[in-house]
Symmetry: C2
């Protein structure tokens, strides 16, 4: 298998878009016609998420290079939810997409390794998101495990939420904490660079802070960005333009609710609306 | 149900120790006589963890006020692991202990709420650990969910690992990042203080940094500390003394490997060794 970043870039070129489809299923947002067939308990919700997300993958999974399930919503359904999560990751990969398991996991040493082995082994994902607060010996086990599987790691640098600045914006030695995190991410990325010049350690940088996105792009040329906050959270195609290198590579842009739920729960044509939302987003985010 | 901190302190007084028993099962460390009866796959490991941890709880669960399962090792066993995790939390509570689900979860808004609801609902834990890097609107959903259930939250402030300082020690406005995090934790704690003067939002502060532990104790009088790093990681009873208020309250001290695995895998008397390790640790960490 080739380098994580090379595989990702090849798929982005082939599918003509850097769009990452986020699978964040929410019980209250599901089409009513689907939801009514399931019990409102952990197992029922898990099965409803399986049907809904599978249907969305059938509709758009072959057109997006990346699929990113949000672990929290599956974990909230208990053991049945993890079984469904595993099936959806497998389905996405069968449709030729790469996968990011978005769990923002973090811990030290062998505990971090346990999380990483679950991600790349049991769940079968190509990459995962990791929270850097615990420091070097908490991030490096994820990087080591990813490299063994030719996978990738996306480290939280600048998140897309309104309260992100509370600690990320604290200024140390003349620059904010998130820039310090970004510099370490660049170090990890440079240790294993693929043919396109990108490493296998990426950074999560929110679409909702375009000026910072541009600064980070310039400062971290080897780092692929996973950009959340597009669409429902307020980020636009203009906002995310700065995430890319001049050749159009260097970032994947996530949309979750904007594609999953562009309809009221009682809409009879929800599938057509999902396809249209994907069309529109792919149109807005094309790669030359 | 009474305030989280009051319940915790009452139990610490009643059992005469602030010891938190960490459940971090590791396949390669299990007693060989037990391990040989299980398959070395996800389901087999999960069942072996169930038997081993249940047996340890039978031996010492009624003597410790707090039990803290490490989510990573159960997650590494897939859906079967989560089923076992749920059973162990239930067993610990039936033995009168309070529980901390150590998952270091973190995310924003409704995603954070999904994690919190799983912790307090599905898994049935009394509290959980949370990573603060994402900021205010990522921590507060956990606090809100905990308050609804009279539960607690422990926010990572100063972790016990060697590489913790990479970001936690960056100095901003004259003090390190972890002190800034501590100050916000104190704010959250002060919003709901129980009869003993402690809030329902605590801080994770490693035993391996005793000077910082003392400074944080003085700076954050309303904050209960969860202190990892005791025993196998190098922290001693002297190191953790500074975590307590003058009346002996204010902290729970975790030991995982030191109590779970004080034996070679082929030791025939592993159960006696677990009891002795618990005795020794409780003796070293008594509450007046």
């Amino acid at each position: 298998m080739s380098h994580f970043a090379d595989r990702l870039n090849e798929l982005i070129r082939k599918r003509g878009t850097p769009l990452c489809l986020g699978l964040d299923p929410r019980w209250e947002s599901l089409p009513a016609s689907l939801r009514v067939r399931y019990d409102d308990n952990a197992e029922g919700r898990a099965e409803a998420y399986r049907e809904f997300c599978s249907r969305v993958l059938d509709l758009v999974g072959s057109r997006v290079p990346v699929v990113k399930p949000q672990a929290a919503f599956f974990e909230a359904c208990g053991p049945a939810g993890f079984e469904v999560l595993r099936g959806l990751i497998d389905k996405a990969r069968q449709m030729g997409a790469m996968t990011i398991l978005d769990g923002k996991r973090n811990d030290i040493a062998s505990t971090a390794t346990a999380y990483a082995e679950a991600t790349f082994g049991l769940w079968g994902a190509d990459s995962l998101t990791v929270n850097p607060y615990l420091g070097r010996d908490a991030v490096e086990p994820f990087v080591t495990a990813a490299r063994e599987k030719r996978g990738g790691v996306f480290v939280l640098v600048r998140t897309s939420n309104k309260g992100a600045g509370l600690f990320q914006d604290l200024v140390c030695d003349g620059r904010p904490v998130y820039r310090h995190v970004g510099e370490r991410v660049a170090e990890w990325a440079r240790a294993n660079v693929g043919g396109d010049g990108f490493g296998d350690v990426g950074a999560v940088v929110g679409a909702t802070y375009p000026a910072e996105l541009a600064q980070l792009r310039a400062a971290l040329p080897e780092v692929i960005f996973l950009v959340p906050g597009f669409g429902a959270q307020g980020g636009t195609a203009d906002h995310v333009r700065a995430a890319f290198r001049a050749d159009g590579l260097g970032a994947v842009v996530n949309s979750s609710r904007g594609i999953l739920f562009p309809f009221a729960p009682d809409a009879a044509d929800w599938e057509a609306r999902v396809v249209k939302a994907a069309d529109d987003t792919i149109g807005a985010l094309s790669v030359k």
